[in-house]
Symmetry: none
Subunit: 219 residues, 2 copies
């Protein structure tokens, strides 16, 4: 069974019974929480969680760092967590929304259009698809960071410049070659390196590299 629907309204109409039927596992991967702004669908899950006590099934949300962009989003996430859901942040952008219900159904969405036009969803119970998607979400989940750990770790997030510098440093280039490749003057490149080292609270390049490696900052 594979069905394709356009727009959230139609999806809700089709998928509502599925949401209501979740027995032990609800997992979703998405860029942020702006989708599902229509409360109907989420309610089906939320309501079953808010009965107090431990949630009757496991709810997991895998999100990209973009989900933490504004204050509202963070507050919302904390509510979700307070209701018993697990939230992790993945380093990947996760532009497509993906949902797996138990081991029974998968819902895959197209990339959300910038101004919230209707998008296409595919709902399926094909075992190989559900299994494959579930497996991939598990893999991404395993590698992602718990929300509180993510927020607690003062993980220096690097802008594009910082990442480029990091890439050069990690590539073993001399400052001169790196600066040339980045189109910067030697002086400026070294300033960037110094900034990076300050960010990593390091007193030597080796130490900075070690920190970067430990933090998984591959650039």
């Amino acid at each position: 069974m594979v069905i394709t629907v356009r727009g959230d309204t139609e999806l809700v109409a089709r998928a509502y019974p599925l949401f209501a039927s979740v027995k032990d596992d609800f997992v979703c991967a998405a860029r942020d929480l702006t989708t599902w702004a229509q409360p109907e669908a989420r309610e089906a899950v939320i309501r079953r969680l808010s009965g107090g006590g431990p949630p009757p099934f496991r709810v997991r949300k895998l999100l990209s760092p973009a989900a933490l962009a504004d204050e509202d989003a963070r507050r919302h996430l904390w509510e979700v967590v307070a209701q018993g859901a697990e939230v992790r942040i993945s380093a990947s952008p996760l532009p497509h929304e993906t949902i797996v219900l138990d081991r029974s159904f998968a819902i895959l969405a197209e990339v959300a259009p910038p101004f919230g036009g209707p998008r296409e969803y595919t709902v399926t119970d094909t075992p190989s698809v559900v299994g494959g998607v579930r497996m991939l979400i598990e893999a991404a989940w395993k590698a992602a960071t718990e929300l509180d750990a993510y927020l607690r770790s003062d993980m220096p997030q690097l802008d594009a410049d910082g990442q480029a510098v990091l890439r050069m440093l990690g590539g073993g280039h001399t400052d001169e070659s790196a600066a040339r490749q980045l189109g910067l003057s030697l002086r400026t490149y070294r300033r960037r390196v110094a900034d990076l080292m300050a960010l990593l609270e390091s007193g030597s390049r080796f130490q900075a590299g070690m920190r970067a490696g430990e933090l998984g900052l591959t650039g």
Copy 2:
């Protein structure tokens, strides 16, 4: 379009033209390389890679550590890499085989039965499915480890000296202070550092630090 086939033979019959049509990206996630033992399908890709020169498109394989179990498998992997494919190892088990061709098609398999009976494959070009699966593979890919880094990570255990040097470097000391604390001459200390860098195949201290950090060598 969503089709379901049973058994590798039928899959090959159906999917061969797809494999032959790959333009710029072939990515697959699987537990190991025992699947596709039937050479027909792989050949379609392999042959197009072995023409010498840079591969005409990107080939990526995301595998679980089980793929490195025996010597044959490792040798095979090195061949694949030599032919221009990228191979990464994920910490997750990846029981379902999953393949994405360009941004056009996705192939998802059921879990391989223990003794190689026929299994069910789903082939689709539905954009939301292909996009979603691709996104998830990208996420898992990003979090996985490069094959050579993974194999190198059984790093030759550093002896006490090496660990001490690493501790000094990681502590941000200058060579002079480090050598003094270790009771070594400056010359010898620097020799040790050079040895360590050679071991880490690094061309700069930063790079060495990064490798050390990635490999979790805290000294």
